[in-house]
């Protein structure tokens, strides 16, 4: 008797949780598109989403912006998403390997710049000028870090900190804790009120490709494919370019 009552109580307690997870998937049926996109795409994709909604009556685009690896993990664990836009190819590869997506398209490129305080007080003109300065870069484990590492290879330079993502790398600069930061061009442009971006030739070998794909288990497969295609169209590309991305 007692054991049964306990089980019943447990079932009751868990029931609302189950209901919660069920609700999300259903929403896709009535014209809602769920896009998982890399954090660096926040500004550009918000704009693109609005344009897409304007062109598609009754469609609502919802974004989940986060680090690409977090998103890839969520998708492979079965999160109900329609589209995945990654900031690097390796995380898209994980999703493809898991069978959650096929044939991703590269819709944008992002390259590193040296972000410096406005007015460039240390007169940084290239990567070699970072010698003697405190600078921040992303950790190797994240996309911007892999790019930074390849740019720094052979220079003998090392940052004072390997940040977990590009936003916090830039933040160390805007807070005045470092003299320079290796960040994406798009991030430097987004913060152009506070920082100047110094382009450097070595970054050519350290370009990040941004792939996008409609997901296999998309609750809204048609809209998903349409959105993925839309990011390659001129309209969306213009938005991306304004944000500092380059055409692929």
């Amino acid at each position: 008797m007692r054991a049964k009552a306990t089980l019943a109580a447990a079932a009751l307690a868990l029931a609302p949780l189950a209901a919660c997870t069920g609700g999300g998937a259903e929403a896709g049926a009535d014209g809602t598109l769920t896009v998982f996109a890399a954090a660096s795409l926040t500004e550009a994709f918000t704009e693109i989403g609005e344009r897409f909604e304007a062109e598609h009556e009754g469609v609502q685009v919802e974004f989940n912006f986060a680090g690409s690896s977090d998103l890839a993990a969520q998708i492979t664990e079965g999160a109900p998403a329609d589209v995945f836009a990654s900031a690097d190819e390796s995380n898209m590869d994980k999703v493809v390997e898991a069978g959650a997506a096929t044939d991703p398209d590269t819709f944008a490129l992002n390259r590193l710049v040296i972000a410096v305080p406005e007015g460039n007080p240390d007169g940084v003109a290239g990567i070699a000028d970072l010698a003697g300065l405190d600078f921040a870069a992303c950790a190797e484990e994240v996309p911007c870090g892999a790019a930074a590492q390849s740019a720094l290879d052979g220079t003998g330079l090392a940052p004072v900190t390997y940040e977990a993502d590009v936003k916090s790398t830039l933040q160390k600069l805007t807070l005045g804790e470092v003299d320079a930061a290796l960040v994406y061009r798009t991030d430097a442009i987004a913060a152009e009120d506070e920082v100047d971006a110094v382009e450097f030739p070595e970054s050519a070998g350290a370009v990040n490709a941004y792939p996008i794909a409609a997901l296999e288990d998309a609750p809204n497969p048609d809209l998903a494919a349409e959105f993925a295609a839309y990011t390659l169209a001129d309209d969306a590309q213009a938005v991306l370019e304004a944000a500092g991305f380059q055409r692929s």
Binding site: S69, E140, E163, A164, Q171, K172
Partner: protein, 266 residues
Amino acid sequence: MPAKRIRRRRVPAALLAPALIGLAFLILPLAGLLARAPWTELPARLAEPEMLAALRLSLFTATAATVLSLLFGVPIAWLLARGEFPGRSVLRALVTVPLVLPPVVGGVALLLVFGRSGIIGAWLYERFDLTIPFSTAAVVLAMTFVSMPFLVVSVEGALRGADIRFEEAAATLGAGRWTVFTRVTLPMVAPGVLAGAVLCWARALGEFGATITFAGNFPGRTQTMPLAVYLALQSDPEAAIVLSLILLAVSVIVLASLRERWTAAP
């Protein structure tokens, strides 16, 4: 006879059911980690110098933060429990701010004070060419900031529960205020202090947000285990699981052996 005794000790179902559900909720995620852990990778991970450096750094900084918290937190707790001055309740609320503040925000706040252009940090930088961020000291500061409230709250509770008359008795026996505090008050609230210190240490060991924001991430210097775990999660989730299990195991061993020693004491 024994049967009767067992009967009397039986936990009422109204308590048992939620307790079991709660325990399942706390333990199942751990079980999930254990199930997913690539055990074959463990020996290789354990041999990695970077992992060992992160583990060593974590244990050292968490312990240092606990010592700092004891040094400053116990007096704060005393002030809150025994002091009578205007604004005490406000002060008590302020002390718990780090508990509710997202640790990342706490890290930014620390930068604004101790950073190169922070209120105190700027002066240190100009005067002594000293920068705190991106140093091991910064890790300890970040940990102390987020974990000291646990100690303060715990010790304050113990102090409030302590009977002041014992202190009066000590005074009549010739003990001055400092002696009363060290010889009577502190020993009597020792269990509370210990509980607070354990909580503080555990919180410091798991500290991530404030640390990575204030101290950055540099292997061997500021990369503690949680940071290593988080970064590993970006590229190699299975490695991250192994790392977190190692951290978990070490902390459990440390706490268990500590408890052993304390309870074994006469």
